[in-house]
């Protein structure tokens, strides 16, 4: 088993209101089987024992599904391996002596809270604005009475796999969240259950998207390349079509109740 020695340049910022800067740390004895976050855990334990402030980063499931983790590693959200969250990125993909630059997501709509931790609550507000199907609990129709063609269920699931990590925003030169919104709009919009609110949904979510100061989509495709779940940019095209239609056929936006 080979051990790596790495030089880490990490963005340190004490809080949202203070300026940040890169600090350099030495990570020796990095086992190739470690995940990227386990490598940071080891650095942090050393920092604590040395009486210093450990690097704050977000994580929880460490299985690539909760969407909590995420940092820009050498300019790439979630690091160099395609379709991989930072927690699933293993150190065998790095080389001995390598220098790494580790930064938080950069976007106006995602203010840095500390070090590598950013505030992604804008995503929740976009969902609150209409990213759901309105159904009362306890009075849903028998499940098999809504038939969903296998192909549609699969396609819906492709979009529904979005973990809301924010890598798409971090990768986009405009800091647009269109891939995130399109994934949700697509997930619900290809299902029969999602039809009644389909047009309101896309309008509400996009209005909120803009209110959160995310940028616009200008078709760079960087989002798709950075997405750990390989959500396709085709969903954005589909969302745009829905949005156009929505403005034609549902000009008045009723208040959500």
């Amino acid at each position: 088993m080979s051990l790596l020695r790495l030089t880490l340049h990490v963005w340190r910022q004490a809080s949202a209101n203070e300026p940040g800067s890169f600090q350099t740390y030495q990570a020796n004895n990095v086992n190739e089987h470690m995940s990227f976050l386990e490598m940071l855990d080891v650095v942090n334990e050393e920092l604590i024992e040395a009486g210093q402030d450990p690097i704050a980063f977000e994580h929880d499931c460490r299985e690539g599904i909760c969407g909590a983790c995420g940092m820009v590693i050498n300019g790439v959200p979630h690091g160099p391996q395609r379709a991989t969250t930072t927690c699933q990125l293993h150190m065998r993909h790095f080389t001995d002596g390598q220098e790494l630059w580790i930064e938080p997501w950069r976007a106006r709509a995602f203010p840095v809270l500390k070090d590598l931790v950013v505030d992604r609550s804008a995503f929740d507000r976009i969902i609150d604005a209409g990213g759901f199907i309105s159904v009362r609990t306890g009075s849903a129709p028998e499940a098999n009475s809504t038939r969903v063609p296998k192909h549609d269920a699969e396609s819906s699931m492709d979009a529904a796999s979005c973990i809301g990590c924010g890598a798409c925003v971090a990768a986009c030169p405009n800091a647009s969240a269109h891939l995130f919104v399109a994934a949700k709009v697509g997930h619900l919009g290809v299902l029969p259950q999602g039809q009644p609110e389909r047009h309101d949904r896309v309008r509400r979510m996009l209005i909120q998207h803009d209110a959160e100061v995310f940028g616009n989509c200008t078709n760079h495709g960087e989002c798709e390349a950075a997405c750990p779940k390989e959500i396709s940019v085709n969903w954005i095209a589909r969302m745009n079509r829905d949005f156009l239609k929505a403005n034609l056929i549902a000009p008045k936006l009723p208040k959500n109740t």
Binding site: H33, D41, C66, S134, T137, A140, G164, N256
Partner: protein, 645 residues
């Protein structure tokens, strides 16, 4: 505090218990609902479902979670599926059969009335989830597809690829989001509950810490619901998310809520084996893999370090198929886990040597790939295969996966009655945080079912009964009890920050604690080992309080402080788990006391002496909790020897 354990479970014919109970309980009129405030701690399947449902009914709900968004609760990680007795496969499934399988799977240590109700409402859960847009797997005709899970001979598990938990949670989260927008639910993310506020013996609020600013706050309400998940993380290495913790339920325990069956821990047979000391968690490979994957080890220890592809069929031991022909690879988790440990203990494990032993068995898809083809296997398990490949660097389409048992789920939790209320009035507990429904072992795909059943279909009926039948005088945040709780939390943080000789961060202690528990209160337990653990845990706890080191101040984001608080609580809970494991002189489900086994090595229950729920009351001294017993009556099924042969 005197405690009377009254399960309040209705009697009479089991099929009508829940409907008769619902007909008898009190209700709150729609116009009065908005006058009631309810606190829900947790936004996993249980918490999000409950908060969304109660909000929609018209109550004023405050919901809390420590993650940055409710969508990231640990439930998101559940992979394999959710059970429901829909009998869509026409393979003779029924509410009765799901009930029976769950009771038997739990080794006859669960409350009949609760389990029957769970099986009953399981039908509505699928309807609800489909209506919300959960993209479950479908047949070509558009109907819902199913697969099978351990411990069942029918196909009743609904799934969304290997991301069922994610999709169900997103469904509940979206329902919650809708209520947040309407204004019936106020969501407090990045907010951790650190204590319970009790006024006039009733749960009336919580103390929280804002994890960004460090601000402590008291929140009061008419009642409090804890949906804070399981405590498997006490073992350090487990399949749980890193943040999963026992803080809320342990504080409730200290306030007089009884803690039931703390030692019942589920060990899951199909996890990726540990690779080194630095490791921070173990990754589950869904049980559904055992539908098509075959579990084996070499017959001879000499073959253990060979390339598995070169080991001939006749030199392999498909030990589950050999020992349990009726269920084969789909035996329940406790059985499969122990069988895997046994072959590794015999020296026939595979994979790297860790402390002189190979801890792994093969989960082989070669037959399935031949039978179904690469595409079909990829369609069923693709994301799990990818996850395995990411972690181990090995391609499971080419070489068999290696798996080993790991701590996965805790069946113990706060004791609740049939209404899901704890022994503290006005304090409810739902989902993995309570003890109900699974007995000594949880069958696969039934935790998601229980979380959603509690949140969507049970609590919304039973909680109003409490509101309608209690005298609740108005209280405010400046009530002396609330202020006292606030000050205690403040003092607790100060104590953590000012250990006399600070040396190590919380992970250091957590790893040590995990090691003690896994050795002595893990897959196999003995009286001697448990007594040893009961010596080691208090010593480690003392060392923790004198040497815990937290370097960042508490007014900022401070993950070290968060972890340290959780480890402090784990250090208390660990002792209770060992006390419970020591007192239970029998083997059942996930609790395997080595002194109590059959000659073939199967768990030996002792119904005559231990057919009860062990509910522990905090006595003021962690080492001497008081035991209360809730006897279990089996009227509908007769406890039998659990055989899967």
């Amino acid at each position: 505090m005197t405690v009377r354990l009254d399960a309040k479970a209705p009697n009479g014919p089991i099929e009508t218990r829940w409907s008769r109970h619902k007909a008898a309980i009190k209700m709150v009129a729609p116009s009065n609902r908005r006058k009631h405030e309810i606190i829900v701690v947790g936004s996993g399947l249980a918490g999000a479902a409950a908060a969304a449902s109660l909000g929609e009914m018209g109550y004023q709900v405050k919901c809390f979670c420590f993650q940055d968004s409710p969508r990231r609760a640990h439930s998101i990680a559940a992979q394999g599926g959710i059970n429901s007795a829909k009998n869509y496969q026409n393979d003779n499934d029924s509410i009765w059969r799901l009930f029976y399988d769950t009771i038997k799977g739990g080794d006859f240590r669960a409350r009949e009335a609760n389990v029957y109700r769970l099986a009953e409402v399981s039908l509505d859960i699928i309807d609800q989830a489909v209506a919300q847009g959960v993209p479950f797997a479908r047949e070509y005709g558009g109907h819902l597809a199913n697969r099978s899970f351990g411990g069942a001979q029918v196909s009743r598990t609904f799934y969304a690829r290997g991301q069922t938990g994610q999709q169900l949670l997103l469904g509940a989260y979206q329902a919650l989001s809708r209520q947040i927008d309407i204004g019936t639910v106020r969501m407090f993310s990045r907010t951790e509950m650190l204590d319970l506020i009790r006024i006039d013996q009733k749960a009336r609020g919580i103390v929280t810490r804002d994890l960004v600013t460090g601000r402590l706050e008291a929140h009061v309400a008419d009642c409090v619901v804890l949906g804070t998940g399981g405590y498997g993380n006490v073992f350090y290495l487990s399949t749980n998310a890193k943040g999963s913790n026992c803080t809320a339920i342990l504080r409730a325990y200290r306030h007089g809520a009884l803690f039931a069956n703390p030692c019942y821990t589920q060990i899951h047979p199909t996890c990726i084996p540990q690779s080194g000391e630095y490791q921070s968690k173990l990754t589950l490979m869904s049980e559904s893999l055992r539908n098509d994957g075959r579990v084996w080890v070499p017959k001879s220890p000499e073959d253990c370090d060979k390339d598995p592809r070169l080991i001939q069929e006749e030199a392999r031991d498909y030990f589950l198929e050999r020992k349990y022909p009726a269920f084969g690879n789909l035996v329940p988790r406790d059985i499969a886990s122990r069988a895997a440990k046994a072959v590794c203990d015999e020296g026939r494990g595979v994979g790297p040597l860790i402390n002189g032993q190979r801890r792994g068995v093969y989960l082989d898809f070669a037959d399935a790939l031949r039978r179904l083809g690469h595409t079909a296997v990829e369609e069923r398990y693709g994301n799990l295969f990818q996850m395995y490949e990411r972690i181990t660097g090995e391609d499971p389409y080419e070489v068999p996966m290696r798996i080993y048992p790991a701590v996965h789920y805790t069946m113990g939790g706060l004791w609740v009655d049939y209404n899901l209320m704890t022994t503290v009035e006005g304090l409810f507990s739902i989902g993995e945080a309570n003890f109900s429904d699974h007995g000594a072992n949880r069958l696969g795909a039934s935790a998601l079912m229980q979380g959603l059943a509690d949140g969507y279909f049970i609590l919304p009926y039973t909680l109003p009964n409490y509101l309608a039948s209690s005298e609740l005088r108005p209280v405010a945040e400046d009530h002396p009890e609330a202020q006292r709780a606030l000050q205690e939390v403040q003092a607790g943080i100060h104590k953590l920050m000012s250990a006399p000789s600070p040396k190590y961060g919380p992970d250091w202690f957590h790893r040590k604690l995990g090691h003690i528990l896994w050795e002595h209160c893990g897959m196999g337990r003995t009286a001697t080992g448990l007594r040893q653990a009961l010596k080691e845990i208090p010593t480690l706890r003392d060392q923790f309080w004198s040497e815990i080191k937290i370097t960042t101040d508490p007014q900022h984001i401070n993950p070290t402080l968060e972890k340290a608080g959780r480890v402090a609580d784990f250090l208390e809970l660990a002792e209770l788990m060992c006390i419970d494991a020591l007192h239970r002189e029998e083997s059942c489900g996930g609790h395997f006391r080595e002194e109590h086994q059959s000659p073939e090595g199967e768990a030996k229950r002792n119904d005559a002496s231990f057919s009860y729920v062990a509910a522990w009351q905090y006595s003021g001294n962690l080492a001497y909790p008081t035991l209360h017993r809730e006897p279990l009556a089996f009227e509908s099924v007769t406890p039998s020897k659990r055989s899967y042969k």
